[in-house]
């Protein structure tokens, strides 16, 4: 970075750029990949299909949690509420005679609907108070489910309605639905970050009070993020049910989901678009290798998350992307003419670029 004394003269030499050849190629590649992934159930084994479904679910919740914490500054410890609502909502609706896949879609909508009044309650709190209040909110739903015998109470329930489809079809439908949900989720966040709102959101995360003082609608921005993140987690819950066919309240409403989300986002890169996806792939690999280790596996995840938070707070992607000025998905702005590439909504921008990105607000 050059010293700021040169800044004013050089400002006219700067230009703002969103697409770079690399990000253009990569975004195209991502779309092509999503299209190619459609053929997985046809071409590859059922085992691969199921594993990829699990991976997509992890990507979805990581991206959703990152939307909350990385862009809204909201550390939720209660997104498992919506995972549970998505799953149990599906069971409830299917029990009413609804076609199970339609029930899943409706349950996702239901999660979004629940999150609207919840946002009015929970967003009154900030920081750690929001964190625990959102956790209490999840606990309330967990207890309500364990009190209902028709939902299997504490012992769990399966989605028997899915048995009307053969195992292979079921696997494929679930896979396609999850792929679609993940693509929509990622696309939505991508569009959101590129919108006016995206810049507002970054301003909120950087300094909520300052953002409010220049006219950013802080509460509206946070509410939109909360509703999107909750709907996305509802989708993850419905897909988890379809993928495993059986759920227990103690695990679908477990705070372990939050632990996974925090791990993926911190390791991948908080506040970056690409980071949570990378974090999800890493967690997916770790789960495959170490999940049998039980407690030690979680000790390892917790320690890793702490170390990343303290030593590499921008995560793998945030660190690498910053060092080499790479941005695969063009969600930010590149300020051409500065010594280093700026990426505004995707990270803690140096002072000069922050000014540029806020000028848009």
């Amino acid at each position: 970075m050059s010293g700021p004394q040169g800044g004013t003269e050089r400002l006219s030499a700067l230009s703002i750029q969103r697409w770079t050849p690399l990000s253009r190629a990569f975004t195209g590649g991502a779309l092509a990949l999503a299209a190619a992934l459609i053929f997985v159930p046809v071409l590859l084994s059922a085992n691969v299909t199921q594993k990829l479904t699990s991976l997509f679910i992890l990507i979805m919740i990581a991206v959703m949690w990152n939307a909350l914490a990385g862009y809204g500054g909201l550390v939720s410890v209660g997104q498992q509420a919506y995972i549970g609502i998505g799953a149990y909502g599906t069971v409830l609706l299917a029990h009413q005679g609804l076609e199970p896949y339609a029930a899943m879609v409706l349950a996702v909508v239901l999660s979004g609907l629940v999150s609207v009044p919840a946002s009015y309650l929970l967003l009154r709190m900030k920081g750690g108070q929001f964190a625990i209040a959102s956790w209490v909110f999840a606990e309330v739903f967990a207890i309500i489910v364990t009190l209902r015998v028709d939902l299997g109470a504490g012992t769990g329930i399966s989605l028997i309605e899915l048995n009307r489809y053969g195992a292979a079809d079921r696997q494929a439908f679930t896979y396609w639905l999850t792929l679609a949900a993940t693509t929509i989720t990622l696309g939505l966040i991508f569009v959101l970050l590129r919108s006016r709102l995206g810049s507002s959101l970054q301003a909120i995360r950087d300094d909520e009070d300052a953002a409010a003082s220049v006219g950013v609608k802080v509460m509206a921005g946070k509410r939109i993020l909360y509703i999107i993140a909750s709907t996305g987690c509802g989708a993850a819950g419905a897909m988890t049910l379809a993928n495993t066919l059986f759920i227990v309240p103690s695990s679908i409403f477990s705070v372990k989901w939050t632990a996974f989300m925090i791990f993926m986002v911190l390791v991948g890169g908080l506040g970056t678009f690409e980071g949570p996806i990378i974090g999800a792939v890493i967690l997916f690999g770790i789960q495959d290798l170490f999940a049998d280790e039980g407690g030690w596996y979680l000790v390892g995840l917790g320690m890793t998350a702490i170390l990343f938070a303290l030593l590499l707070p921008r995560g793998l992607w945030g660190t690498v992307g910053e060092r080499f000025g790479i941005q695969l998905m063009p969600v930010g702005y590149r300020v051409r003419g500065l010594g280093r590439t700026g990426r505004s909504p995707t990270g803690v921008a140096p002072a000069d670029e922050a000014a540029v990105s806020r000028a848009e607000v």
Binding site: L121, M125, Q129, F137, V140, I143, L147, G302, A309
Partner: protein
Amino acid sequence: MTWVNAIIQGIMLGGFYALLACGLSLMFGVMRIINLAHGDLAVLGAFLTWVLVDKTHFPLIVSLVLALIVMFGVGWALQRVLLERSLRSGMLIPLLTTFGLGIVIENLLLEAFSPDVRSLGGNAGVVTTASWRITDQLSISALGILILGVAIIVLGGLHLFLARTSLGRAMRATAQDPDTAELVGVDSRSVYARAAGIAVVTAALAGAFLAIRAVVDPSSGPTQLIFAFEAVVIGGFGSLWGTLLGGFVLGVAQTIGAQIDPQSSALAGHLVFLAVLAFRSGGILMARGAEA
């Protein structure tokens, strides 16, 4: 009469919650950190006491005092190693690191002690079984009174400590303006570390009482954190006496909930908490705004 009984039991339970909550409140008041590992630290204190009783065969009270001394060091180290660094990186990071710490403590306990429940009730002697019978349906347990008494002593002691001692004064000054505190000769790092030590000691004491009056297992922490937080919010952030009152309200809500349906005791507490959040977000005393 059963309702009167429920309320009296609720108040005694509330004393326990206030004890559990005061450390959370202290750390928030001094360092502006909500320690998401608070409940797990309480459980760690209970297990440490249990191990000391089990291995050394010291009397419970001796083991407890030893455990509390160790836990002061744990709190001190927590501040110096984890929170001090976390605080430098903004308000998000302390939440993430304390949440991670909670996961680590819980699963280390799980590996070391298995998921089995433990109790210190058998080591506490006559106090766990003695009670005063008021009428046929109404009796007051000696343990309930003991815990309530300890809670009042600890909260009152903390209040006096903060108001009257030079360290308490330095803590309040640092809480209000850490930079200026440094400029008048207060070692703010050391003040923070001692505040964290005290907070963890009170958590561990509450954890030990949990193991005396009921049982603990490695995964008890998160629930205790939630109850402690509810007591703090219901009473209003920033006031120790509010925390005591918040504990009472939470305790009574839970015992009345249990009276209606034994399974919905925690649910009743959660609903009262959410109602306070919805209608009086500054806590029932309205001492200070919830955003303070």
